[in-house]
């Protein structure tokens, strides 16, 4: 008979899980790609640290100023800032909770209480949570320096506020995880998310135009915000500073009610997960239906000029594009961005009264911005292939066909996007002079084709698998991001210098001539690179297959 194991304490379990995550990280560093990826992450970490510590100072100074100057109601603003960041930022960074799937721990003999506490502890491992905790501590320090007597109350409020935020964040994350378990729901959600992000760009021009009439309505809403946790935290602190214990107790009690409510709801969610909630998305077997032969016919071949493998890859890429909610929607962005920017800063639109950037500079500037956005995915162009990458290596073709197919699709998309954007520009701002138009068009060819060569190299050297319509754990390879960043700065810098040489030398057609030469060189270089990249793909195929078949 097997021995019965002794119960393991919650802290021991958390220690074991932390150790597990550390070992996973340490072991992953045995691979060169993961080490390079870590370098990229360290760069990102340095930037993030600057943001966190910079804002720590701001929160410290804010809390100190509001308390020392007696502007106690303003403290709520600081709590609101942290609250919104803590709850909304995880959506921006595409993930709720750490990448490690803590539900896998359910196979072990955990009690529901232990499962709940570990789940909550994971919430503190998020970037948003870590940053928010730092800012809350900075606020506490600022408030204490201004009025040392508030320290005990501040500690209590901050502790409840932290617990409330992490509970709410886990609750939202857990509900979203359930709702987004099905692929279609996930993609729909992602589409709505992207659309809402695009819509945010219209806020500024709309505020310029309708801000004054919307203000009274917004002010009428303000009193209702007073009953939300950040306002309550601010009011509790103001009450204790003014020595109003009854108001402090009332605000703290409502804050605690929120905490208990969120905790009860999260307990219910975790209890469902603990019981083994099924989140599978595989379709149930369906009764066989009669097959329609005609319905599967592709019709005439519109890509007959291409070789069959390249045409097959272009067709497959097009299907993938139309089924990738994020990529599909990102195509809407360029013309929309031109609309937004032109409303904000350019040309003869109604709100700017004709005082904006000239079409002469707006056109190349916007084209550079569009290329920056649309070329970024090309640096990890196999991200969505998954296990299908094996087909490319098993099929009787050279990898140059794969690059050609994928690049052809991207260039077609870019051509359509640029044409749409150009039409939008002509409508909103007007077209630039002929020499600027020609120079910019040639510069577009130079920067796109030049980047394609680098992007192809990056895609096979630093591959990173990504999932369609998925938010959790979606992160580009750190090195691919650095390469993209570097080459975009290089191309953009070269293009900017050449564009300005026209003005400096007085020869307005000089940039156009230079860009035509560079574009021809880039096209030649692109085709010359294909064979070398094919050999490199053959050398790197194990890395590619391993990275994408996970």
């Amino acid at each position: 008979m097997a021995d019965v194991t002794r119960p393991v304490s919650i802290f021991e379990q958390i220690r074991l899980v932390a150790g597990l995550r550390w070992r996973i990280l340490r072991n992953s560093l045995r691979k060169k790609n993961n080490r390079l990826d870590l370098i990229g992450l360290i760069f990102a970490g340095v930037f993030s640290s600057v943001l966190i510590f910079g804002l720590c100072f701001a929160f410290y100074a804010g809390a100190y100023a509001f308390l020392s100057q007696g502007r106690l109601e303003w403290m709520a603003l600081l709590f609101w800032g942290i609250f919104l960041f803590w709850q909304i930022f995880p959506v921006f960074v595409a993930g709720f909770g750490a990448n490690f799937e803590f539900r896998t721990l359910l196979r072990f003999p955990l009690s529901l209480r232990a499962f709940y506490i570990i789940g909550l502890a994971y919430g503190f491992a998020d970037f948003s949570a870590l940053a928010s905790v730092c800012w809350l501590l900075a606020m506490t320090a600022g408030a204490t320096v201004a009025k040392p007597g508030v320290l005990p109350a501040m500690l209590l409020i901050v502790a409840v506020f932290m617990l409330l935020n992490v509970t709410l964040e886990r609750l939202i994350g857990s509900w979203l995880e359930r709702l987004l378990a099905r692929r279609r729901t996930r993609e729909l959600f992602l589409g709505l998310f992207v659309l809402s992000m695009i819509s945010l760009n219209f806020l500024s021009p709309l505020m310029q135009r309708y801000g004054s009439s919307a203000r009274p309505a917004f002010l009428r809403l303000l009193p209702y915000l007073a009953w939300f946790p950040p306002s309550l935290a601010g009011r509790a602190l103001a009450a204790i500073t003014r020595l109003q214990p009854a108001r402090f107790l009332l605000s703290s009690a409502v804050l605690l009610i929120y905490l208990f409510l969120f905790s009860a709801l999260l307990w219910r969610r975790f209890a469902a997960q603990y019981r083994g909630e099924e989140l599978s998305e595989t379709a149930a077997p369906a009764r066989a239906a009669a097959r329609s032969t005609a319905a599967t016919d592709d019709g005439s071949d519109r890509l007959s000029l291409l070789s069959p493998p390249v045409a097959a890859i272009v067709r497959k890429e097009f299907r993938y594009l139309t089924r990738n909610g994020f990529a599909y929607l990102s195509l809407l962005m360029p013309p929309l961005l031109i609309l937004v920017f032109s409303m904000n800063s350019a040309g003869w639109h109604l709100t700017a009264g004709g005082k904006g950037v000239s079409a002469e500079m707006f056109f190349p500037g916007m084209m550079a911005y569009l290329i920056l956005i649309l070329m970024a995915p090309a640096y990890n162009s196999f991200a969505y292939e998954g296990r299908g990458i094996q087909t490319y290596f098993a099929a009787p073709l050279l990898f140059r066909d794969v690059f050609l197919g994928k690049n052809l699709m991207l260039v077609s998309v870019l051509a359509v996007e640029i044409a749409l954007s150009l039409a939008m520009l002509a409508w909103r701002v007007g077209l630039p002079s002929a020499h600027m138009l020609v120079a910019t068009c040639a510069a577009i060819i130079f920067t796109i084709v030049g980047q394609l060569t680098i992007a192809n190299w990056s895609s096979i050297t630093f591959p990173r698998k990504m999932e369609f319509g998925q938010m959790r754990g979606q992160r580009q390879s750190g090195m691919a991001v650095l390469v993209a960043f570097g080459s975009q700065i290089l191309m953009g810098g070269i293009s900017a210098v050449i564009l300005f040489t026209g003005n400096w030398t007085g020869n307005l057609w000089l940039p156009a001539e230079a860009f035509i030469f560079l574009a021809a060189a880039a096209v030649g270089g692109y085709f010359a690179s294909l064979d070398a990249l094919t050999r490199l793909a053959e050398e790197k195929k194990e890395v590619l297959i391993e990275a994408l078949c996970r």
Partner: protein, 262 residues
């Protein structure tokens, strides 16, 4: 002399200090139904990946249908079909789209690709969900689709890595019949499986790899005779396998060591 479908010489693959495949000399005659066996981690999947171009060997040579793989990879790949370990499917295509994609990648014309993909989907009982994406297929359905894609161009050698894993008994029966028919018509099938009964029933020839080395190769009769010392013996493949792989006495787990569990 019979045509050789697969011939390797001193095929070796190292991962750092680990030699996953160690000087393997395989010889498979055209038209054979060849079973490639070995315990977990023996090097079966690594060998199949090398033979299909998914992994480069550290050293050694491969000839498929008399053509050197290293110098003519495209020509060789045109002649083979493969169901790799992860199945290699593009999950955002429908089954029909994927088969058409593969058909065109192998150079079939559109009409042939269209006709064959419809026939294969029908045969694999996948035709009733024309709009379902592969991501939404069950594991067994994906396996059947991967097999359909591997045969759409009529390969002369078919490499199958655990083809029956996750496939229901009904479909498995149909697949076995299909594979048997293909060998009758001259296709060479190179198959790995952990289910020895399947290998014993389907395969005419078997090779056993152990710790990266080829430890046995031949027809089932030859292997039986090698073990029992007499021709026509009734030794099962499992007995042959255990006898060869467990020869050094270290392979069989010793139950006595787990006395605390009993």
């Amino acid at each position: 002399m019979p045509e050789m479908a697969i011939q390797t010489q001193k095929l070796t693959r190292k991962f750092g200090n680990l030699t996953a495949v160690d000087g393997v000399d395989l010889q498979v005659t055209a038209g054979q139904f060849f079973g490639f066996l070995g315990p977990n981690g023996a090097g079966k999947s690594t060998t199949i990946k090398i033979l299909t171009g998914l992994l480069a060997p550290t050293s050694g040579s491969i000839e498929l249908l008399g053509v050197d793989f290293d110098s003519n990879p495209v020509e060789v790949k045109r002649q083979i079909g493969v169901v790799p370990e992860g199945m290699g499917l593009f999950e955002r295509l429908t089954g029909s789209e994927y088969l058409k994609f593969v058909g065109r990648m192998y150079g079939l014309d559109r009409a042939t690709t269209q006709r064959r993909s419809e026939e294969l989907l029908d045969f694999m009982q996948l035709a009733d969900r024309p709009k379902t994406m592969i991501a939404d297929y069950s594991h067994g359905m994906q396996k059947k689709l991967a097999l359909a894609a591997a045969v759409i161009h009529g390969p002369r050698i078919l490499f199958l890595d655990e083809p029956f894993e996750g496939v229901d008994a009904l479909a498995a029966g149909a697949l076995k019949a299909l594979l048997a028919r293909m060998t009758e018509r001259g296709t060479t099938i190179f198959l790995t499986s952990h289910v020895l009964e399947i290998v014993e029933r389907l395969c005419s020839h078997v090779a056993i790899i152990h710790k990266g080395r080829l430890v046995a190769q031949g027809s089932l009769e030859e292997l039986r005779a090698g073990i029992s010392g007499e021709a026509g013996s009734k030794t099962t493949l499992e007995e042959i396998f255990l006898s060869i792989v467990g020869q050094d006495g270290t392979e069989r787990p010793q139950l006595e060591e787990l006395s605390w569990l009993m």
